[in-house]
């Protein structure tokens, strides 16, 4: 399909294109299962963090370190990107490939801004607070948990960016729709994980 063609809606696309083929249904199901595994992965990381969050080894503590306005801004960006990915899926279900692509672009831009804030936050800690991976058990647990989430965001960013390219080349079909749907599921998942990080790491670090 040409790019120009891809902009126009395909009249033959079924209502829920992500579930129209067995392969699509398999993808969605397997991705739910995969997210179950991811939940265990982050659960273990959270358990590790909770066990070690007060072991500061005479390095900076959470209360000294965190600046909530910065984290709140990052949270706002990421939550907003979850909303825009919902708009993207709604556009897909209405069979509007152009709208779908635009909302996906907004989603990845918000994700990139979030990542930028996180990189800024980490570099501030390392440069000005002398808070690195090796400082304390708390620092190791902090960078591993939050860094794992950040790596997930980065992966999601690249993934959705590739899908945007694919959408422009191939249009919205029963092959591309499940991929987009699944990437949106992934994006919501890392958003949910961030809500827990915001609560358990940052809020609890400030007041707990």
């Amino acid at each position: 399909m040409t790019t120009a063609h891809a902009e126009a809606a395909d009249a033959n696309l079924p209502h829920e294109p992500e579930k129209a083929t067995l392969e699509g249904r398999n993808k969605v199901l397997a991705f739910w299962l995969f997210l179950g595994g991811e939940a265990v992965l982050f659960g273990t990381l959270f358990a590790t963090f909770l066990a070690l969050r007060n072991q500061t080894n005479e390095g900076p503590s959470a209360n000294e370190l965190f600046h909530l306005p910065l984290v709140a801004a990052a949270t706002f960006l990421l939550l907003a990107s979850s909303l825009t990915s919902v708009f993207a899926i709604q556009a897909m279900h209405r069979n509007h490939p152009a709208q779908l692509r635009n909302w996906l672009v907004v989603t990845v831009v918000l994700g990139a801004l979030f990542l930028g804030l996180e990189i800024y936050e980490f570099s501030e800690y390392v440069r000005h607070e002398e808070f690195g991976m090796t400082t304390s058990a708390f620092s190791s647990a902090f960078y591993t948990l939050v860094g794992f989430h950040g790596a997930h965001v980065a992966f999601g960013f690249v993934w959705i960016a590739v899908l945007i390219g694919q959408l422009s080349r191939k249009g919205l079909t029963v092959v591309t729709a499940p991929k987009i749907y699944v990437s949106a599921m992934y994006w919501h998942f890392i958003d949910v994980v961030w809500v827990f990080i915001f609560t358990v790491v940052y809020l609890l670090g400030k007041v707990g």
């Binding site: 398999n26 397997a30 595994g37 992965l41 590790t48 070690l52 090796t134 058990a137």
Partner: protein
Amino acid sequence: MDWITTVDHKKIAVLYLWAGGFFFGIGGLEAILIRIQLIKPMNTFLDAQTFNELITMHGTTMIFLGVMPIIFALMNAVIPLQIGARDVAFPFLNALGFWTFLFGGLLLNLSWIMGGAPDAGWTAYTPLSSADYSATHGVDFYTIGLQIAGLGTLIGGINFLATIITMRAPGMSFMRMPMFAWATFITSAIILFAFPAITVGLVLLTFDRILGANFFDVAGGGNPVLWQHIFWIFGHPEVYILILPAFGIISEVIPTFSRKRLFGYSSMVFATILIAFLGFMVWAHHMFTTGLGPVANALFSVSTMLIAVPTGIKIFNWLFTMWGGQVRFTSANLFAVGFIPTFTMGGVTGVMLASAPADFQFHDTYFVVAHFHYVIVGGLVLGLFSGLHYWWPKMFGRMLSETLGKWTFWTFIIGFHMTFFVQHFLGLMGMQRRVFTYLPNQDFDLLNLISTIGAGLMGVGMIIFLLNVFLTSRKPADAGNDPWEDGRTLEWTIPSPPPEYNFKQTPLVRGLDAFWKEKTAGHKAMTPSEPVGSIHMPSATPLPFVMSVGIFIAGLGFMFSRDEFGSAVMSFLFNNYIVTALGLLITFGSMLLRSLYDDHGWHIEPEELEGS
């Protein structure tokens, strides 16, 4: 080349079998070396360091690279056939799972020739596995090799779950599914929820060792008990990842050779689910002596003993299946019947160990070694032997020799009991595990000698089995669809070995033991649920192989990133993470290629189908 690019589940099964068999052989040789060292007191055959490396690699290799891949081989060979599917849900991922396992395993075993194998025990307890106490790269090979291999297992688990949920033939409800398919389903669910925990554990340990993090380093505020929790919250469910497939195999073999349906099918299903559920609740019974306190010990003690209930249900159901049946003692069935008492003995010592106060006495003695070898060798390995003898004709179209099969059984099982039965008494008398020698005149000498002779006999059994495989491979492939004549499930309705597309027409399932039901109704074949038509097949691709090579390179690069090399070029490449980046580039580049070019697969048209 065909083997590198294949995405056919039956060929991947064969790959898993050869690779798993290869690693099983390495693990077996390691075991023999351990037993030679322990044949007499104050033996100097091995030094302490080599002994530590051998016991670490024996446990790790056997569990992750030996038996699990052989389980996956049988699952891949049988599951799509048993549920009447043409393939697994994700053929590409299936190949990827195999190749990541293989390259993870190769990475782990490279440690033998690259400066020292892991030496901290298969549990890699901190601080023994920390950079302070384990200074070679051994434990890095362990953490990164297992990480890569574990990725393959997780992929395989998700694939089987999706396959079983969505691709069962029409009429095959969950409660009409063969027990091996059930066991695979539940095992895959355990893999899905247990493996991410060890993924995190291995990452934390890698970070501690390579990046200088403080998770388990007390001086930096870390906590070694945390490792034990993370390891065992994976490690205990892992026991059930190993044993439930064996239960599944036994539940297929015994009804077939008793000419009776499995007694208490639904109770078997629910017992399997219950075992899986309880398996996640009991991890701390490995930690009774860690000092968690009496309340935790009591709770984990009780929850552990509860597992005996569903397991007992299974044992009695197998006995009741044979009761009044026309039992045929083929070698497959000999292994299955031999499994029942040996596994039960392992279960009984398990209940003994589950009693926390008694465990303080048994802990870290040969009693524990005897217990888990009764479960894993007397349970799982006998189960795998049974499954291999049972499904060999389906996989390869050739019947294994029954005579040699019986020789395998008797040498192996006698050798097994000689090796491990006496170890119970060695343990009760106070012989410690994990030490490379012992003093004379403590009454350990004779029993250790018997144990080593037994291990040799098990080795003889293995050699007879390999001989059987070799001789069988030279015979013509002439096994029929249903070579045991009493096949009950769908895999016996199609030729041996099955054609690439498995079922020319997807069968219609009309009851539990679908094929048996048709046979008793006087039909010779299944009723098809669809007309003969064009069959869609996935294309072969080298990408899974290339992706795994990339991960392998990245792993090596990361492992040596802090080393100093003789040559400046090497130091530059490794210390700047260039090798790591290159490996990841290969992997992610392959992923990108995969996403850019749609694989439309190909079709087999009705005219090309055999016999049409």
